[in-house]
Amino acid sequence: MSATSRAQLCFLLLSVTALRGHARFLDMQDNEISPEGLLSLLSSELKRELPEEFVYRRALRCLDMVAVEGQFTFTAERPQLNCAVFFIGEPTDVISIEYDSVNIDCRGGDFIKVFDGWVMKGEKFPSSQDHPLPLYERYTDYCETGVSRPIVRSSQNVAMLFFRLHQSGSSFTVTFRKLINPFPCNVVSQTPEGSFTMIIPQQHRNCSFSIIYPVEIQIGELSLGQHNDLKRSILGCAGSGDFVELLGGNGMDTSKMFPMADLCYSFNGPAQMKVGCDNTVVRMVSSGKFVNRVSFQYRLLGHQELQQMKGNSVEDVCLRA
């Protein structure tokens, strides 16, 4: 036997051995190997079959933040009238919240509502301008649809659960899962430093990446499908259907933030800006005619940098440099 033939036979044996178990797994789908079936093997929803000891469980607090998948229970030891749980995933996640068991008195004024996004001080992320759903569709009320619709799914990596329980002993349990979002649009960053590439593939929509810190943003690449010449950019991005803008503000709603810079021509190479606001946003507006893409890095501004910006600043608007 030649060396080549022997290597080929070894590779064949390796392949058959590796596939042996998976083939039986696929056979369980009535002998149909469809792309959907293959994808289901990769789906994180298969985690539903995890044994009990692999599921993370803990009690919820009245005001809580959850980033880990698992099962969460709240039990009222006294009336709890103003409670909220923030859920957050990685930028490429969407959130799934499933009602496992609910023991509340809907007729007595109790409620559990899931919001598709975050609300803080009355300001919403994503803003109404950026979210594909009208506002009333972004709320899901357990008392209205919980029984028929036990799973709520978010449109981005953040969601929120509001609840009010009037009687001690009332309780509910939810399972939080993170599902993969192949084209993340609206994102809240978990960290003050990182990098991200936002791609809007020929969709007429606006997407915002929110960094709730004062940061320096360095855009490495901006690719807008249309080819704008440099002259037009001098006049600003008015009239351009595809552009990127940097926003700064002290709230969650991007439509109430200050425009710090806008970019409506493609380029490669670093373009950086410091934004000394509590919330810094990279927002892309897309006409839907082109594939638009922006890559950027961000890092937290140091205390001295902020002080220096404050000293140089004349305006009251968040510090910029």
Binding site: C10, L13, R20, F25, E49, Y56, M65, I151
Partner: protein
């Protein structure tokens, strides 16, 4: 060239010792409960549980969820009275637009909460990885 086929051969021998059951999903009580719910919920639902594969059950769950979402997703406005239709609609809209509870967090508190949630996530992910490795090592 000789070491390369040898590596492949050794790897295939090691893989052949992985029990086939490892590639199957585990037989879970929660899964049985889900399947029981499915069977009980189906009109004229027959057939033994053994006949239903795990993935078929998963597909059925997904199908039922999508059906429920389609049904539940429809917005049913309350029937407005003739005299107060505009006021009723405005009130309805107001109720849904306003956050049900006002959360007044500073960004400082929000950042701290996110940081603690990240730490919890990383800790539990490490714990989960350890459990997986222990399970594989059995």
């Amino acid at each position: 060239m000789k070491p390369v086929p040898l590596v492949l051969l050794i790897t295939s021998v090691l893989l052949s010792h992985i029990p086939l059951s490892f590639c199957r999903p585990r037989d879970l009580n929660s899964l049985h409960n889900q399947l029981d719910d499915l069977l009980l919920g189906r009109p004229g639902g027959g057939g033994g549980g053994d006949a239903m594969s795990v993935l078929m059950g998963e597909k059925l769950l997904q199908y039922l969820q999508r059906s429920a979402q389609r049904a539940g997703g429809a917005l049913h406005l309350p029937a407005p009275q003739q005299d107060n239709s505009l006021e009723e609609l405005s009130e309805f809209s107001k109720r849904n637009d306003d956050p049900p509870i006002s959360i007044d967090l500073t960004f400082h508190l929000l950042r701290n909460m996110i940081e603690m949630a990240r730490i919890e996530n990383q800790r539990e992910q490490a714990e989960l990885n350890r459990k997986y490795l222990d399970e594989v090592g059995k």
